[in-house]
Amino acid sequence: MFTKFPALKFILLAAVLAYPLVPFTDYYVLHVAVLTMVYMILAMGLNVVPGFTGLLDLGFVGFYGIGAYTAGILSLSYGLSFWLILPMAVLAGAFVGMLRGAPTLRLSGDYFAIVTFGFTELVVLFLTNEIWLTRGPLGMPGIPPVEIDLRWLHAGWRYVFTGETPYYYLALILVALVYAIMLRVENSRLGRAWLAIREDPLAAASCGVNLMLFKTVAFAFSAAIGALAGCLMARWSMFLSPDIFKFWESFLVLCMLVLGGLGNVNGAIVGAVILICLGEVLRIVLPKLGLPAETRFLVYGLIMIFIMRFKPAGFMPHVAGCSFVGRRARELKARLEAERAG
């Protein structure tokens, strides 16, 4: 679609950028848009483990929780700025991701999935029971909003994020940042090593890929992105509770990936848009049909069954696996064809 109409990409981008500023902007739509973008970051982060290295990770939401609570505790107890907390939450996520590597590095398939599943439960139990740190089931209300404080530069230069519009742009910047990093990493020595592990671990090792090292990097990277999403979410929703990080969330993010096509960064974005928007639509439509809003989980299940039956590779099957798509691939193709002809 984008190759046929290259301008479409820019029109879409302009529309996304301008939306909050147009007069008919709706507060609710903006809220859903920010939520969608949080899930986009989550989906891109999760994609690293099951999509690139081929290990089914059912515990991703644990890192989301760790990022969110790191941000929440640091904001409430120490009053640190969002801009300081963001890298700290990312580091905390990466660190826990590496720790989780210790028991899971030698596992694959179902065994890996089960241990990661246990990990989310562990995180939720920790958040629920360590009341001195997290206030437990009472949750964490009153997290301050994001602010840009430049009063040290000039008196009165302070901007506190109110409403959805500033968060919309903040989330947009973070999504763009994560997206760019993902594409760059995917098309690099590191990304190719991950894909090699996914395709055939034994052959990858025989090519000189250090499986332990590269899996650990994947876990840490994936967890760091999850924590980044958590940090954004904490300062945006301004309330945290352990319930937000139940296993169901991991599954929802995984559904987004499967919907868009595992291993595909664009697919992760599309999957997040479809499932979050669908969830919102169903929340309105289902009660009108006399069904409880929770019935929407059944619809998600149905969608997964249909995807598996009719489009098992997702809406955006990742054709060439990795790296060689886009301009550089076209250039190389042209060059090879010219050589063959001449």
């Binding site: 090699a196 025989s206 000189g208 990742h318």
Partner: protein, 261 residues
């Protein structure tokens, strides 16, 4: 030490099964060595021991590192590749859903060094390495005759081409010793003939080749030295002519009494 690799009294036991018992031989540089024997003789086990996939139960594997013998038993596969031992697999193990070019690029993994930050920041060193990597990979593909198919998906290649791609991927790691596990299996006569040319071209590049092969005509034609295994025991070693007339080898392949018939 003048051999490129020395197998010294290597045994490998799987539970009650002695897959290899006390096997010793030397791989001399610059020639093609054949590892033959009936099915289940332990040939692939031997390869796996050399390539670091299995750790020998007993014995030593010595690799020539600039004239000195380096004991490498129990080294991980990635370390063996780093040290210059590359291999192909009996049942083709390509990165199926990736492109031909990517397969070779991953093959060169241990000779490249860019990490996470290089990729994220697109540093000058990273860009230079990537550009060089593409050129080098295309050279390896050209060497095996697959350059024109660089952007095809690996599984879309014909069987013979997949075998050649596996060789290109192994070559990309810059080995001094190349282990080929049944490279001609499933190939038609024309493909086998061009494989022979390819193996000679590899040898001309100064790479020592060891191959496991069931096609006796091929083995007798290209190998200068043969090691014969049967039930994990080395029963003969020597030139093709000696091996062909060795009564123990004939017995292993054809059964008792065949040597006198």
């Amino acid at each position: 030490m003048d051999a490129i690799l020395k197998v010294d009294g290597v045994s490998k036991r799987f539970g009650g099964l002695m897959a290899l018992s006390d096997v010793s031989f030397e791989i001399r540089p610059g020639r093609i060595m054949g590892l033959i024997g009936p099915n289940g003789a332990g040939k692939t086990t031997m390869f796996n021991c050399i390539a670091g996939i299995y750790t020998p139960t007993d014995g030593r594997i010595l690799l020539n590192q600039e004239g000195r013998a380096l004991e490498v038993n129990g080294s991980k596969p990635e370390r063996m590749t780093q040290l210059g031992v590359a291999r192909t697999f009996q049942n083709i193990r390509l990165f199926g859903s990736l492109t031909v070019l990517d397969n070779v690029r991953i093959g060169r993994h241990c000779r490249t060094g860019q990490g996470f930050w290089g990729a994220v920041l697109r540093t000058r060193a990273q860009k230079a390495e990537e550009a060089l990597l593409i050129e080098q990979s295309l050279e390896y593909l050209d060497f095996v005759g697959l350059k024109g198919k660089a952007l095809d998906i690996a599984t879309s290649l014909s069987y013979g081409d997949q075998r050649r791609l596996e060789i290109a991927r192994a070559m990309a790691s810059g080995p001094k010793l190349l282990l080929l596990d049944e490279p001609a299996a499933g190939m038609n006569p024309q493909e086998t003939a061009s494989l022979v040319d390819l193996i000679h071209a590899i040898l001309e590049k100064g790479i020592t080749v060891v191959l496991i092969e069931h096609d006796m005509k091929l083995v007798m034609k290209i190998c200068e030295h043969l090691v014969v295994l049967d039930h994990g025991v080395m029963i003969a070693e020597g030139g093709p002519r000696d091996i062909r007339e060795n009564p123990q080898v004939i017995e292993a392949y054809l059964g008792r009494g065949a040597a006198h018939a």
